[in-house]
Assembly symmetry: D2
Homo-oligomer: 330 residues x 4
């Protein structure tokens, strides 16, 4: 349940305020040069505290390789990477325990796991788990150095001017959501299948695994629903399959067509808003006003692009291995 992928496969574990979080990557080809330093740039991008609107919680996020690397190269066996949790302030969470935070998983986790869940900092639900995913994504990117995978925030709080959007949040003392767009260039033709293994299916699966994502669209996406067929269809221009327009976002019939892969995600506003809220108190059975403690992002979308790139790279590496576009030994 906490694994994803078919040949290139990841498994995540850990809790926000436990000892560590981590990831195991199975099925990575042997012979890839890999050092912890290779992962740092993407890990750095994911970190909070570096830009306005992100959490002041600071973790070093140094990847600790536990297996699968020998003499500076991947061995072809599982790569396990740990990240220690050092900067935890669990006491913030204990105080709020009687009020399941709206927008958070507190209430459902309690019901589903019978009160056994580690609730501190969101436990296993925490976006801190994405640290491992970013590390795995950096490995997948390294496997596919011919591809460019670039995600960016294109809207905050409904504003395309990001500064402005963020200012709205700061002014309102409230959290906000955003839109992320990702583009991939250099993809070979022929990845994906019709139906259940369509690129859209597999990508959306893992994109919706990113906390706070509530919408995914490919190419023209929701706008396509308002278009005419003659307008939406991408005419093919040459024998390489280049299309005049790219409303399909590079995927037709579930399969990559060699044009730019484009998709967008809707990220909801951070559930932990600084605003006062009113919700159920478990102990009393009544609703009451309260404020969220802890250190949180005003806009989680800001830290998400590198996560989006990571999961995209993971999915593409898996398809590339299945289609024998990446060798098992490098």
């Amino acid at each position: 349940m906490n694994s994803f992928g078919r040949i290139f496969r990841i498994s995540i574990f850990g809790e926000s305020h436990g000892e560590c979080i981590g990831i195991t990557i199975d099925g990575c080809p042997a012979g890839l040069l890999l050092t912890p330093e290779d992962l740092l740039p993407d890990l750095e991008r994911r970190k909070g505290g570096k830009q306005k609107g992100t959490t002041p919680r600071q973790e070093e996020d140094l990847p600790i390789f536990k297996s699968g690397i020998f003499n500076g190269k991947t061995t072809g066996f599982p790569i396990t990477i740990l990240f220690e949790n050092k900067n935890t302030r669990s006491e913030d969470y204990n105080k709020q325990r009687s009020i399941p935070r709206p927008g958070h998983a507190d209430w459902v986790a309690h019901q589903k796991f019978g009160g056994n869940e580690d609730y501190r900092g969101g436990g296993h639900f925490s976006a801190r788990l994405t640290t491992g995913i970013v590390a795995a994504g950096a490995i997948a990117k390294k496997l596919m150095s011919d591809l460019t995978i670039q995600a960016e925030v294109t809207e905050i709080a409904g504003e395309k001017d990001l500064e402005k959007g963020l200012q709205r949040a700061i002014d309102a003392k409230d959290s906000v959501g955003g839109i992320i767009e990702c583009r991939v260039n250099g993809l070979p033709v022929g990845l994906g299948e019709p139906y259940f293994d369509s690129i859209e299916s597999v990508l959306s699966h893992i994109l919706f695994a990113i906390p706070a994502v509530k919408g995914v669209e490919f190419g023209a996406g929701f706008a396509a629903s308002k278009m005419f067929g003659s307008e939406h269809n991408d005419a093919i221009e040459n024998m390489e399959g280049k299309t005049r327009t790219n409303h399909a976002g590079g995927i037709v019939g579930g399969i990559s067509n060699g044009n730019e892969l484009i998709f967008r995600l809707a990220v909801k506003p951070t559930s932990s808003t600084p605003k006062e809220q009113n919700s159920l108190n478990w102990d009393t059975g009544n609703t009451e006003d309260f404020s969220i403690k802890g250190r949180h992002d005003l806009c989680v979308a800001l830290r998400a692009p590198v996560i989006v790139e990571a999961v995209t790279a993971l999915v593409l590496a898996d398809f590339m291995l299945l289609e024998q576009k990446i060798k098992r030994i490098l």
Copy 2:
């Protein structure tokens, strides 16, 4: 690759103009009363030719049970259902073979499968394959008679007045897209997991497997990206988890929270528009004007709601079995 599900698992096969299409359902509990008639109402809804804007191709779509049923009940073993293809007019397609149809999989299929694909009527890519999925969905619905799963078209060609939207297509002699919304009531709390087995992940996976779907959003979806946290968060009102609003669409942390499950899909306009188009001719290497032959839907969204319900039921039945909310023997 053509299978989906973990405990309640479907596998599809067949081609649009081959002898038949079909589906195998594995993992269905034993002891469910089941006759072909149980499947007819949903199959009827999926059929073309019954409403304005859908294809005149008429198939009887009578489900032929080949296995897994004994004495009118499911046995617990694989249920294979065939649907014969009778009303095929493959000659329509042979003529167009030199021009890969824009918006269709002709070009990518040819590249990916080396020219071995059955191109007639879209072959395995055809939405005709969804007939089996609708049949499987009807079985899943029967397993969960406490749930109501209802999908409907809420927009055609950007119009909420559906007649008006369809008229736009007819007037323009062009195909159009639409929006489908699905609501599920009666879900227990606790289906789904954080991360890769979130309800959003698994549902979107199979929703994007439906041909022509290019966007999926849950709850407030893309609109959430423009909201403040205090606005988006659904306050919990009582000990049963009922929320004041439902921007989350019934899913928090990937897990059902007992409120109505709501999601929407964007369906692109039918690729086979009646309009003249200009695209590559494989034989000449040049682009040229041409018109699509064959019998097609002006708006595929019109036939899609029952397919959306079907895949939703399949996913939920699987989660219910995993969570032991449905017994293995009824």
Copy 3:
């Protein structure tokens, strides 16, 4: 549950006395020339009634391709093959219904499936289901024409002289078991993994899926337990990895070493012996004497070699695809 394989994947369905049995093969590369005739030689070997000691039930076993073949070649999409059940005599089974047959699954099936199982002729438990597996195996063999996969009965009723062993059964008017040995030549080095994806693990998994198999051993197998290490170890003789002896049966550390792959299976005597037996009558709750009706093999091992070859071919094709030794498009 009724599927097996990772890339080259089979799914079986059907019941002994239902309308048909069948198989779907997913993940077969596109472009393989394939006609029903290609499958006949192996299907013929599997058939009963051709040799002394096998069931007189005669089925034509003509494979009916339902999907995945176009213009005489595989398309890369699921291949579904049906075999009609024509020569059924279900009345034989109705009479025995009150006595669950010892050695058969009657009793456990009834408990597990709550009486919903199709009990006629063993239903889904019947070895008739192996017809589809043999067909799939013939396809896998055709994919790997460089390999020779040969299984044979090496012992019947404890006798290496097979005529003699069979005569023991005929004289005793009782069914008997046997040993099958399979040898594969031409395997590349490097298929398989240590631990869960060892060749032994994956092969034994599917070998034990063959009805009546109760033991599997590789290379020296059980005899290895009596050997000294210096005796059992296969010294490597040259840079190609050829070993002086082959006690490992061609697999070291779970991985093929380029030497002959050798393994053996123990097949129990046919449960449906002609001998009178004494066992529980469900209706009375008491044990009683009875005789098995129906048409059965005196020694099921006689028909099993081609099934053993088939499952071996399926496993090897899957490993070959994973290791990119077989292309996705031929």
Copy 4:
């Protein structure tokens, strides 16, 4: 590839002389009381150095819980357990690098992974990886406290008197193999399926994942091949399904029948024999005499029973969850 199980699922990682080895257990029900101490008795049984004939390499094998436990209970999320490698003497292995050890994976690993494998102490191939499996098995056992799962060595070097068998090895200054038998009591009726999910299939899969196992048989096993049907069939005696004999080993049609589950494994002699051997030297291309360095077991079968119990428990827990005999929350 390094994972096993469907609902209760394990993933192993690590190398013999790397920093650690470990395991992740996903799908364990929430609410199980669990401390490191619960795992110690089984880990102790697996350790070398405690009995005659086992390796003097001593590791503390203290399980370090990294995730999935909170307030002394399982949370329902992945449990990752590490075991540090402290007592490594890798220099022993560097010296032998030019001679791939017969019976070991040195040669195949080198071919398969292109020289990138961690060869020290067998790397990922090492039986040290079974430490994690034993820990996971102890958790599975705790989930099923009603079952008794007991494995023992029944033969060493062909001798049922184990002291005598071991003395043969000591006298010959050679390693030896053995037979292990495992018995499970208390199993419910109805675990397993015909064909690919038969208990024999799934159990043998993981049993052959244990290093050095070369044969597996259930019930009468290979001896069944010499029996008459009337002799082998287990007559049913009462409505609970108790059988007069148990040649089937508690499994009929792939399904547990409520009688004792019995199976046996053949373990080959330790590949690292103290005897001088003659095999290929990679550097010279010629064969030569040499002796194995390092610390090794004379008979690996001696340490294997607890591993056999562990993998049996893992498989049974998975079947029990699938059949809803174990709840998701305790």
